[in-house]
């Protein structure tokens, strides 16, 4: 192996320099969350009785089970670990996938790897450097979260285990991305496959915890994170399972990388047509967006089916007094369990749909940064026409995805397609608002557009989490467009017009402003 790792140190420094803002921000936020949630839990539920009743209500809520799994122990530590376990694994997993692909396959795709690869950089060095940074960053935020937890009065041993378990999701998915980065020559496809694998493994954990097939949780990293059971029996050895999983995939990634060429993939590229029929900017945009969109549609269809099936069993499985009470506070005494379930889950999933819309809305900027827009815009294709060719997909992809999600969920639940799809489609203006933010940023701050848009979506997710623990109220809560969407299945349908119209106006304004700025500014290739 000597020689193949030459230059790893140089590349590590390069990565640290390129991500000098992103890494500290991510590490700081994830390191601070555990202690803040722990202290919020103490504040909100000061007595054991209060915590017990909260735990009982949560255990009776299928949406909570699907997102977070069962509660093992109703202590402050146990509730904190339950609240954050799956969220931090999701966030850490996603960030790690994006980082690993960004510093491996994306570098090769743009040809920057070639520049470095001339002799001083060993063939395994880029992957080794990316993994070193990402694994270390995950470890760091896990360890940094421990002192504040201990200072807050939680047991040290369990806190260390909890801290490490928040790192574990990142490790597992950094390793998944290391492998998918070897398979195809396209960074977009590599990223897509890794995220799809993540979604599948998360769905598997959800199914394990809602469908009465608990053993399934042992097949997925999201299950393992929960099964470490911090503050509730501390199963340290489960961390070993995650380490073995990550190590095996990393070894596989290095093995695969020796069997392919730089910039090549294991899945070979087939020759295509010698003549083109793309009818212009819109035809090109359709080609660029459709693959991703089809993948998303299949994914959301599968999620919808999972939800519909899960909702079917609710009436018999979860008709507990606590859940009745929760349902009553949300939707009145006669609210149906399934409606409460769908309302909860759609709220979270609509933000995933917003992620898909962001991919489309940021595509124009990606084309510009990669220098491809420069060539197209030297033809009679105008700025506005080019921007609109991508914007169409940012506008239409959430229509498609929310419809698929709602329709499939309704169909598999009780055939009530229109009602459930109507409820998911109510999120359309909120999702458009997120796409509008991205469009505004592409016009105004192109170099920061992707980072800031994704951060904004991440913050909306954090607002949800804080709202749930009553850490955010009033104005902060109002900042998230998702908060304003009426719950159509729980009596919100009575007067949905005002908030939906309001959000639509915001979305249209943001988008129009973004396009106006885009027409006035210089083209700025390469980030």
């Amino acid at each position: 192996m000597t020689g193949t790792l030459t230059g790893t140190g140089t590349l590590i420094r390069l990565i640290l320099r390129r991500d000098r803002v992103l890494l500290p921000v991510w590490i700081a936020i994830t390191a601070l969350l555990p202690a803040s949630i722990a202290s919020a839990t103490t504040g909100l539920y000061p007595t054991q009785a209060a915590r017990d009743s909260f735990a009982a209500a949560s255990a009776a809520n299928p949406a909570q089970l699907a997102m977070r799994g069962p509660i093992y122990d109703a202590s402050v530590g146990g509730l904190t670990a339950w609240t954050l376990g799956s969220s931090l694994a999701l966030i850490g997993g996603l960030v790690s996938i994006l980082l690993v692909i960004r510093h491996t396959r994306a570098e090769e795709e743009t040809g920057r790897r070639e520049l470095l690869a001339s002799g001083v950089i060993g063939r395994h060095a880029p992957l080794a450097a990316a993994l070193t940074v990402v694994l270390a960053a995950n470890l760091l935020h896990g360890l940094l979260s421990v002192p504040a937890l201990v200072a807050g009065g939680l047991p040290a041993g369990s806190s260390l285990l909890f801290g490490l378990s928040t790192s574990a999701g990142g490790w597992a998915f950094a390793a998944v991305a290391a492998v998918t980065g070897q398979l195809t020559a396209s960074s977009g496809t590599a990223r897509g496959i890794a995220i799809a694998v993540g979604g599948l493994l998360f769905a598997l954990r959800s199914l394990a915890d809602t469908g009465g097939v608990g053993w399934l949780a042992w097949l997925t990293p999201f299950g393992w994170v929960r099964l470490t059971r911090p503050y509730a029996g501390d199963q340290w050895w489960v961390l070993g399972l995650i380490a073995v999983f990550a190590a095996a995939l990393v070894a596989a990634a290095f093995a695969l990388s020796t069997r392919r060429d730089v910039a090549g993939g294991l899945i070979p590229s087939r020759p295509g047509p010698a003549e083109g029929t793309l009818p212009g900017a819109f035809g090109l945009a359709a080609r660029l967006h459709c693959g991703t969109l089809a993948g998303f549609a299949i994914g959301f269809g599968a999620l919808g089916a999972l939800l519909g099936v899960a909702a079917r069993g609710l009436h018999t499985q979860l008709d507990t007094p606590q859940f009745r009470e929760l349902a009553a506070t949300l939707g009145g005494a006669d609210a149906r369990l399934s409606d409460v379930f769908f309302t909860f889950v759609m709220y979270v999933l609509s933000q995933l749909v917003a992620g898909a819309a962001l991919v489309s809305a940021l595509r124009a900027r990606a084309e510009e940064a990669a220098g491809r827009a420069e060539l197209l815009l030297s033809t009679p294709v105008g700025r506005l026409r080019w921007a609109l060719s991508h914007l169409v997909f940012a506008v239409m992809s959430p229509v498609l995805l929310l419809t698929v999600l709602g329709a499939v969920a309704g169909l598999t639940f009780n055939g009530d397609v229109a009602r459930v799809a109507g409820a998911t489609l109510a999120y359309l203006p909120a999702v458009w608002t997120v796409a509008g933010i991205a469009t505004l940023l592409v016009g105004l701050l192109p170099r920061l557009a992707a980072a800031v848009s994704w951060t904004a979506l991440g913050l909306f997710l954090v607002v949800d989490l804080l709202a749930e623990f009553k850490l955010a109220t009033g104005i902060i809560l109002d900042l998230s467009p998702f908060v304003h969407v009426p719950a159509m299945l729980l009596g919100g349908a009575a007067s949905p017009a005002a908030p939906l119209l309001g959000l639509t106006v915001v979305a249209v304004t943001l988008t129009a402003a973004g396009l106006a700025f885009l027409r006035r500014r210089d083209l700025m290739p390469s980030a």
């Binding site: 020759p271 900017a281 220098g371 060539l375 033809t379």
Partner: protein, 296 residues
């Protein structure tokens, strides 16, 4: 209005970098115009302004009689561009990209397309992600040469081509010129400039330092003089326009500005000349003089 490009006093800053600092450029209709200058001189920035992709902070610019920013869409029907760094859509084949660009420019000649593909030895069925830098450049070149346009803007189009393909490129440009098209060619390759260009503009640090035909430029620059004298020529060093003077016994060498040559020869004749060699500057010397010290 017989200038395809007319730019006066262009200014463009990026933050604290002044990329263009009063640049002038005139490209006459029907000529091949060389656009030269060291790295970072501002060639690509000028071209981006001509294409309406950037707006100048100051100065005037007209392209094919129009405003490159306001009339971008209309003007782009009449020109084709090959960027210095050709980036293509990884999932499209070369043939698809050629047709996409050609169609956007109002259609291309299929016979010419086939002929160019053959001459540039380009396989149009390969995905762009598998092309080398040179092959990506060929895709953009084929699309440009097969389009029916008045003006070609080429930014270092041969930087990735092998010598054989460079020769093919030269033939293509000469053919465009015969057909009456105008070409703006940014280049660092001197032989290419010498073969193809009617006139050149040399830019340095965002300003035009020379502009004219190659013959004009040679004329304007220094001649290298070597002489063996009978007597001595003490007045030589004091003459304006004499540079790098070195005297080794009876042997003498110096560089002389074009307009100082008469005075220098008179001074030498006064001292008496045994042998005398004068040599016009080579193209390399011409460029090196402008390129030297350009690092900013």
């Amino acid at each position: 209005m017989n200038a395809a490009v007319r730019a006066r006093g262009l200014v463009k800053s990026f933050g604290r970098t002044r990329a263009l600092d009063g640049l002038d450029l005139t490209v006459k209709t029907g000529e091949v115009h060389g656009f030269l200058g060291p790295n970072g001189a501002g060639k690509t920035t000028t071209i981006r302004i001509l294409l309406g992709q950037m707006r100048a902070d100051g100065g005037e610019v007209a392209l094919l009689g129009g405003d490159p920013w306001q009339d971008a869409t209309d003007l782009h029907r009449r020109l084709a561009y090959v960027p210095g760094d050709v980036n293509l859509w990884p999932s499209l084949t070369g043939g698809e990209v050629i047709d996409l660009l050609g169609r956007a420019r109002g259609g291309l000649d299929p016979k010419r397309r086939a002929e160019l593909l053959e001459r540039f030895e380009l396989d149009p069925r390969k995905k762009c992600r598998t092309y080398s830098k040179g092959n990506r450049q060929k895709v953009a070149l084929v699309a440009a040469f097969a389009s029916d346009v008045e003006l070609l803007i080429l930014d270092e189009p041969t930087s990735g081509l092998d010598p054989l393909m460079e020769a093919t490129f030269n033939e293509c440009v000469l053919r465009e010129k015969r057909d009456g098209r105008t070409v703006l060619l940014s280049s660092h390759i001197l032989s290419e400039v010498e073969t193809l260009c009617d006139r050149v503009s040399i830019v340095r640090a965002g300003r035009t330092v020379e502009s004219g035909s190659l013959a004009d430029l040679r004329h304007l620059t220094r001649t290298s003089v070597t002489a063996e004298l009978i007597g001595s020529a003490p007045g030589l060093a004091a003459l304006p326009g004499v540079h790098d003077l070195s005297v080794d016994g009876a042997r003498l060498r110096c560089q002389v500005d074009g307009d100082a040559l008469t005075a220098v020869l008179a001074e030498l004749a006064r001292a008496g000349v045994r042998t005398l060699t004068t040599r016009p500057p080579t193209l390399e010397e011409l460029f090196l003089r402008h390129y030297e010290g350009a690092a900013r």
